[in-house]
């Protein structure tokens, strides 16, 4: 009797698996940064259309690998693929931005809620040249703040991360010295400070360590309401990281394929350390015996991600939605995707 019920439940499980395979279902994998946004958006999409979307937050590198191995319908990455990486993919792929985020500079100084920083001062702190909060250069930027005599502890991400990539990309752009000594990447060789794992690790270390300064993803800092620094942007204004100032970073000049870092944007009210996160798919959708229906379902989902319906979910989970001009560009990109050479979306 027991065996029989076991057998029956096995059949039931198999049936649900195969039925979902026959019903419309999509799978994607990649960046963990936009995971909360994707979870919310895909859930809403499933509710309205019945198409099941599963997304695995396995990291940008994993997302690219999964798409390269053709085991997912779409991949997701915080960093756009370099020309070299694009050439290494088995076929042409396209990038579609879904939302943008930023990296904020968080700190822990008792009684101080916000400070002004320029890129020079920030770089000097991170390189270990400014060692104490009572340094004259900090005083000069923040006339009204009385800084304590306190050693600076730099906190960085110890794990490979798109957050680090965005942050160091900014530092590389604004400082020759940084570019020569460290450069940019998902992991760099920090000269001073301590490393902690993930946004929660960095934020936790900062909140527990007096005199510390570090960087965390804006989506995390907004949710946790962590004290953050105003950064001087290219236009010379001290900008508070916010949804509006992050969105503003996307209003500069964007190339047609959207493969650009929004760091050090020249838009007047832009926060200087911002960036898109992308979904990546193959330009020619007929691969691995994919059906036209599967290709259409993929494209319809991505198309929906650009609609106001989906975009308005982003700010509720602390991501900045795409500016109008970028949505237009992303829509144009989706319409270049083909099945047997014919555009999938009309």
């Amino acid at each position: 009797m027991k065996k029989k019920s076991l057998f029956l439940s096995l059949v039931a499980i198999l049936a649900t698996i195969s039925s979902s395979a026959f019903g419309q279902s999509l799978s994607g994998a990649g960046a963990t940064f936009p995971l909360p946004f994707y979870n919310m958006a895909f859930q809403k999409y499933t509710e309205t259309t019945g198409v099941k979307v599963t997304y695995g937050g396995i990291g940008s590198g994993g997302g690219i690998r999964s798409l390269s191995d053709k085991v997912v319908d779409f991949g997701a990455s915080d960093a756009f693929l370099s020309d070299k990486e694009l050439a290494e993919m088995p076929a042409t792929i396209v990038h579609m931005p879904t939302c943008s985020g930023a990296v904020v500079v968080a700190f822990n100084l008792p009684g101080i809620q916000s400070i002004n920083l320029t890129s020079d001062v920030l770089v000097n702190i991170l390189l270990g040249k400014i060692k104490n909060w009572n340094d004259a250069s900090l005083k000069k930027l923040n006339a009204s703040i009385k800084f304590p005599d306190m050693p600076i502890t730099v906190v960085y991400r110890s794990d490979g991360s798109g957050t680090t990539n965005m942050f160091t990309d900014y530092l590389t752009k604004v400082s020759k010295e940084w570019a020569n000594k460290l450069g940019s990447g998902k992991t760099v060789n920090w000269p001073v400070g301590v490393g902690a794992k993930g946004n929660p690790g960095v934020a936790g270390t900062i909140s527990q360590t007096k005199g510390s300064i570090g960087y965390v993803g804006s989506e995390y800092s907004f949710a946790q309401k962590i004290p953050t620094a105003y950064l001087k942007n290219k236009a010379g204004k001290f900008i508070k990281p916010s949804m509006a100032s992050i969105s503003a970073a996307g209003q500069g000049t964007i190339p047609a394929d959207t493969r650009v870092m929004l760091t050090n944007s020249d838009a007047p009210y832009a926060y200087p350390i911002a960036g898109f996160t992308w979904i990546i798919i193959y330009k020619e959708q007929n691969y691995n015996n994919r059906t036209l229906a599967q290709a259409e379902a993929t494209l319809k989902l991505l198309n929906w991600m650009l609609t106001p319906d989906a975009q308005k979910i982003a700010p509720t989970v602390n991501y900045a939605s795409l500016p109008e001009a970028v949505v237009k560009k992303a829509n144009a990109i989706l319409r270049t995707v083909t099945y047997n050479g014919k555009p999938v979306l009309k």
């Binding site: 396995i58 990291g59 940008s60 590198g61 994993g62 690998r65 050693p151 502890t153 110890s158 794990d159 490979g160 991360s161 460290l182 450069g183 940019s184 990447g185 998902k186 992991t187 760099v188 060789n189 920090w190 000269p191 400070g193 301590v194 490393g195 902690a196 794992k197 690790g201 936790g204 270390t205 527990q208 360590t209 005199g211 510390s212």
Partner: protein
């Protein structure tokens, strides 16, 4: 076929499977490490340069090897006196008493605590404590990790030594007492010589465990890729650099991480072999 034969086949298959799995692990580690080995050769072990920045990639494992050895040796130094005292307490002085069973249960309980709990405790309690007594500015580093590792390996260091100390025959001890030996003399001249293989084995086991411990150490060592200069400087260990960078690594970096994994595997194997050798020699 009789049941004896069937059992024999089952046992044979199970053992073979385990051999295959460990062999497969070594094989995949070696294969994954090949690109890095070709690129850096033996320099990998003696170079402390670890730079994953594209265009100037350079990988050497020395500072991770140093970090792993430093934290583990420190952990052993802290754990051994504590573990040895506990063992004597439980297995000799208060043998078969209620308090001894409470203590040994508590120690065993330590072994069952997941390492993330040790990590959290270290992060939220131990680290601020170290900052508050002024030992270090931020509380991360070799010392903090070594201390937490010591707590984690104490159960491994005590359990086997407890057994071997309590197994020293009463006749021997009573004989020593009847000759007028003090308790300390009995411990030193009777218990230790008889139990030393078990005690040594348990400390080696504990050391091996400290080498590979990842999570709690990663949370406390500070994860900086610089050569540690003292007990309170930050560092990185072999297992924590793998845990930190594996997710987003590719190409040469991935291969170098796998080579570190292989090195860690070789180190633990050597230590186990040394342990076995010592036990054999002392048992003779």
């Amino acid at each position: 076929m009789n049941s004896d034969k069937i059992l024999k086949y089952i046992l044979f298959t199970a053992s073979l499977l385990i051999l295959l799995i460990s062999g497969g692990m070594v094989f995949s580690l070696v294969r994954g490490a090949m690109p890095s080995f070709h690129e850096f050769g033996w320099k990998f072990i003696i170079s402390s340069e670890w730079d994953p920045t594209q265009g100037r990639e350079q990988y050497g494992a020395l500072l991770f090897i140093v970090g792993t050895l430093l934290t583990s040796v420190l952990a052993l130094f802290i754990a051994v006196p504590l573990a040895f005292s506990t063992s004597l307490f439980v297995a000799e002085y208060f043998k078969n008493t209620r308090i001894a069973s409470v203590v040994s249960t508590m120690v065993d309980l330590l072994a069952g605590i997941p390492s993330i709990i040790f990590g959290l405790w270290g992060f939220y309690i131990l680290r601020p404590f170290i900052v508050s007594i002024g030992l270090s500015d931020q509380g991360y580093g070799i010392f903090t990790s070594g201390l937490i590792l010591a707590f984690m390996i104490i159960p491994y260091a005590t359990s086997l030594s407890n057994t071997s100390i309590s197994m020293v025959s009463n006749e021997l001890k009573e004989a020593a007492y009847s000759l007028g030996a003090t308790r300390l003399e009995v411990i030193w001249n009777v218990i230790l010589p008889n139990a030393r293989s078990g005690i040594t084995a348990s400390y080696i086991l504990a050391f091996g465990r400290a080498l590979g411990e990842t999570l709690a150490v990663t949370m406390l060592i500070g994860n900086s890729n610089r050569m540690p200069t003292g007990l309170f400087s930050t560092g990185n260990t072999m297992s924590s650099v793998i845990a930190n960078q594996f997710g987003e690594a590719s190409g040469l970096q991935l291969s170098s991480l796998i080579e570190i994994g292989l090195l860690l595997f070789v180190m633990t194997t050597i230590i186990n072999a040394v342990g076995k050798f010592i036990i054999k020699k002392l048992n003779r």
